[in-house]
C-alpha cells in the first residue's frame, strides 16, 4: 500500500516534469500548418525536420552554439579552480581579513547583479570588452566565484582535518596533501560545482544581451532573444532552438549526475 502510494506520487511527478519537454519536442517536429491548427494533435501527424534545418540555414545557430560552449566551459573551469583553492583556505586557515572576505563574498550572493548592470556596461565599454566573448567570460567568473568558493568551503569542512594531517605526517606538503588526498574525496562536490557554473553561464541572458550585439559574438540566449522580440513568434523554430540548445547541458548533466546525487563525501569518513 505504502509502496503503491509512493510509486503513484513519483509517477505523477515524472509525468508533470516531462510533459512540457515532450510538448516542445513534438512542436518542433510538426509542420507549421499543424502547429497552428485545431484540434491539437498530441502526436505529430507528419514528422518534419524543417524547423531544425531553418535554424542552421537561416540563423547561424552553429556559431551561436560554439560561442556559448566556449564561454561556459572556460568560465566554469576558471570558477571551479578558483573555488577549490579559495574554499580550501577559508575552511582550513584562520588569517586576518578572513571574516571580511567571507562577508564580502556572501554579500554578493544577496545582491542582484542587475543593480550593477548599467555601470558594468560602462566598465566593459571602458575596457573595450563589449561584444567580446572574453568580456562575457570574465563577468561570468566574477558572478560565480563567491558561490563556488562558499560551497567548496562547506565541502572541505565536512572532511576531517585528520585526513590531510595524516598525509602531511607522511611527508607530503600541504599542496600535495590537498591534491592527493583531499581533492579525490571532493570530486563529487567539484563536479557539482563545475556543472552548476557551466549551466549558469550557458543560461545567462541579461548580461549577454547587454554586452553582446554583434553577430559573431552572440551566444544562444542572445540569438533566441532576438526571436521573441520579433512581432510574431515562429514557434516551430523556437521549439527547435530550445531542443538544440538544451542538448549540451543535458549530456553533461547525465554524465556527472551520479556524482551530484551520490552525495558529497560519502565513504571518506567511514574509510
Amino acid at each position: 500500500m505504502r509502496r503503491l502510494a509512493k510509486g503513484t506520487v513519483l509517477a505523477v511527478w515524472l509525468l508533470i516534469t516531462l510533459f512540457p519537454l515532450y510538448w516542445i519536442t513534438v512542436t518542433s517536429l510538426k509542420p507549421k500548418a499543424e502547429i497552428f491548427s485545431m484540434p491539437l494533435r498530441y502526436w505529430p501527424g507528419e514528422v518534419t525536420f524543417e524547423h531544425y534545418a531553418d535554424l542552421f540555414s537561416f540563423a547561424d545557430f552553429g556559431a551561436y552554439l560554439l560561442n556559448s560552449l566556449l564561454v561556459s566551459l572556460a568560465a566554469a573551469a576558471a570558477v571551479t579552480v578558483i573555488g577549490v583553492l579559495g574554499g580550501y583556505t577559508l575552511a582550513r586557515f584562520s588569517f586576518p581579513g578572513r571574516g571580511a572576505l567571507m562577508l564580502a563574498f556572501l554579500v554578493t550572493q544577496m545582491i542582484p547583479l542587475f543593480i550593477a548592470l548599467g555601470p558594468l556596461y560602462l566598465l566593459m565599454s571602458d575596457l573595450g570588452l563589449l561584444n567580446h566573448l572574453a568580456g562575457l567570460m570574465v563577468v561570468y567568473v566574477a558572478m560565480l566565484v563567491p558561490f563556488a568558493t562558499i560551497i567548496m568551503r562547506g565541502f572541505y569542512e565536512r572532511i576531517p582535518v585528520a585526513l590531510e594531517e595524516a598525509a602531511q605526517v607522511d611527508g607530503a606538503s600541504r599542496l600535495a596533501a590537498m591534491v592527493r588526498v583531499v581533492i579525490p574525496v571532493m570530486l563529487p562536490g567539484i563536479a557539482a560545482t563545475f556543472i552548476f557554473a557551466f549551466v549558469q553561464c550557458w543560461n545567462e541572458l541579461f548580461l549577454a544581451i547587454t554586452f553582446i550585439d554583434s553577430e559573431d559574438a552572440k551566444t544562444i540566449p542572445v540569438a533566441m532573444n532576438s526571436f521573441i522580440t520579433q512581432y510574431d513568434i515562429d514557434w516551430g523554430s523556437m521549439a527547435a532552438a530550445t531542443v538544440v540548445s538544451v542538448i549540451p547541458t543535458l549530456v553533461l548533466f547525465a554524465v556527472i549526475r551520479r556524482y551530484i546525487v551520490e552525495g558529497l563525501t560519502a565513504g571518506a569518513v567511514k574509510g
Binding site: 506520487v9 513519483l10 511527478w13 515524472l14 516534469t17 512540457p20 510538448w23 516542445i24 485545431m38 583553492l85 579559495g86 583556505t89 588569517f95 586576518p96 563574498f105 554579500v107 550572493q109 544577496m110 545582491i111 542582484p112 547583479l113 542587475f114 543593480i115 550593477a116 548592470l117 548599467g118 555601470p119 558594468l120 563577468v139 567568473v141 566574477a142 558572478m143 566565484v145 563567491p146 557539482a192 549551466v199 550557458w202 543560461n203 545567462e204 541572458l205 541579461f206 540566449p221 533566441m224 532573444n225 521573441i228 523556437m238 521549439a239 540548445s245 538544451v246 547541458t249 543535458l250 547525465a254 549526475r257 551520479r258 551530484i260 546525487v261 552525495g263 558529497l264 563525501t265 560519502a266
Partner: protein, 302 residues
C-alpha cells in the same frame, strides 16, 4: 624576499601566508573589479542624472531619482508582485522538493533512471523554461487550455498570459515546476551528508522513523537548509528570466517584479533611475538577509 626577512616575521606570514594569498587572490580580484566596483559606481550614479543617451552632462541631483521612482505606480505594483512571486514560489518549491528528496532517499529499482529524468529541467535555462511555458499557456493553441477543456475544468479558452490574475498564476506555476528539482537535489545532498552512524545509533535506541527524521535528520541538515532557502529566495528574486520570457512583465505590469522593473530602467538607458531602484532593492535585501541570518543562527545555537 630574503630568508632572514621571512624568518623575522610572526608565525602566520611566510609560506603559509603566501599560500593563502595565492589561493584567494584570483577570486578576490575578479569580485572586486567586476562586482564591487560597478556596484559602488551604481550607488554613486543613483544620485546623478545619468542617461545613456546624454552622458555629456551628469550632474548630481540629490534624491531626485529616488523621488521619481517612488512616485511611480508601477514601482509599487512591482514591489507587491515581488512578495507574491517569492513567497508562493518558494513555498511550493520547498515542500514539493523536500517531499521528492525524501521519496528518492532510499534505494529502489530504477531510482537512478528516475532521477536522471526528473532532474532534467534543471539543465534548462530560465529563459527557455519561460518560452516553453509561454507556448503551453498560449491562449489559442496552448496545450494547457486544451487539456483543461478536455478535462471539463473550463468551458472556454483562457488567455492565461493576457489576463492579470492568471498571468501571475501562470508564471508562478512555471517557476514552481522549475525550482522543485533544484530543492530536491540540494536537499538530497544534505540528507546524504548525515552520517549513517547517527541513524544506527537512533535505531538501536528504538526511535521510530518519524522521530529519527525529527531528532537526527532535521537538526543535522538545518544549517544547510537555512543556507539553501536563503540563497533560493535571493535567486527567485533575481530570476526575472522566466517572467521576461513569458510575459515581459505584462499585462500592464501585472507580472512585473522588482528585478524586471530594474532591467526595464537599464534597457531604457536611464542609469540614474536604475541606480536608485537598485539601491532600494539593496536596502530591502540587506535588511532581510541580516534578519534571516540572525534568526537561523539563533535556531542553531539553541
Amino acid at each position: 624576499m630574503s630568508r632572514a626577512a621571512q624568518a623575522a616575521r610572526p608565525a602566520f606570514t611566510g609560506r603559509k601566508a603566501r599560500f593563502v594569498a595565492l589561493c584567494l587572490l584570483p577570486g578576490a580580484v575578479f569580485v572586486l573589479l567586476f562586482t564591487y566596483y560597478p556596484m559602488i559606481r551604481g550607488a554613486v550614479i543613483a544620485f546623478q542624472r545619468y542617461n545613456l543617451f546624454d552622458i555629456t552632462s551628469t550632474p548630481f541631483v540629490g534624491l531626485d531619482n529616488f523621488r521619481a521612482v517612488l512616485a511611480e505606480d508601477r514601482f509599487w505594483t512591482a514591489l507587491r508582485n515581488t512578495g507574491t512571486w517569492v513567497a508562493v514560489s518558494l513555498f511550493f518549491q520547498f515542500f514539493l522538493g523536500f517531499g521528492l528528496a525524501l521519496l528518492l532517499r532510499r534505494h529502489f529499482r530504477g531510482r537512478g533512471l528516475y532521477q536522471a529524468w526528473v532532474f532534467f529541467p534543471w539543465a534548462m535555462s530560465g529563459f527557455l523554461i519561460g518560452l516553453l511555458w509561454r507556448w503551453m499557456f498560449n491562449g489559442q493553441f496552448g496545450v494547457v487550455n486544451d487539456l483543461l477543456l478536455k478535462a471539463g475544468i473550463i468551458d472556454e479558452r483562457i488567455g492565461f498570459l493576457a489576463t492579470p490574475g492568471w498571468a501571475m498564476t501562470s508564471v508562478i506555476v512555471a517557476n514552481v515546476w522549475y525550482g522543485v528539482t533544484f530543492f530536491a537535489i540540494m536537499i538530497m545532498a544534505a540528507l546524504q551528508s548525515v552520517p549513517a552512524e547517527l541513524y544506527e545509533a537512533a535505531s538501536v535506541d528504538g526511535a521510530s522513523r518519524l522521530r529519527q527524521f525529527w531528532h537526527v535528520t532535521l537538526p543535522h541538515i538545518r544549517p544547510t537548509l537555512a543556507l539553501i532557502v536563503l540563497l533560493r529566495i535571493i535567486w527567485i528574486l533575481n530570476f526575472p528570466d522566466l517572467i521576461y520570457a513569458m510575459t515581459g512583465g505584462g499585462p500592464a505590469g501585472g507580472t512585473d517584479i522588482i528585478t524586471t522593473f530594474l532591467i526595464q530602467q537599464v534597457i531604457g538607458g536611464d542609469y540614474g533611475r536604475a541606480g536608485a531602484v537598485g539601491m532600494l532593492v539593496l536596502g530591502l535585501l540587506l535588511a532581510f538577509s541580516v534578519f534571516y541570518l540572525n534568526a537561523t543562527r539563533f535556531e542553531r545555537s539553541r
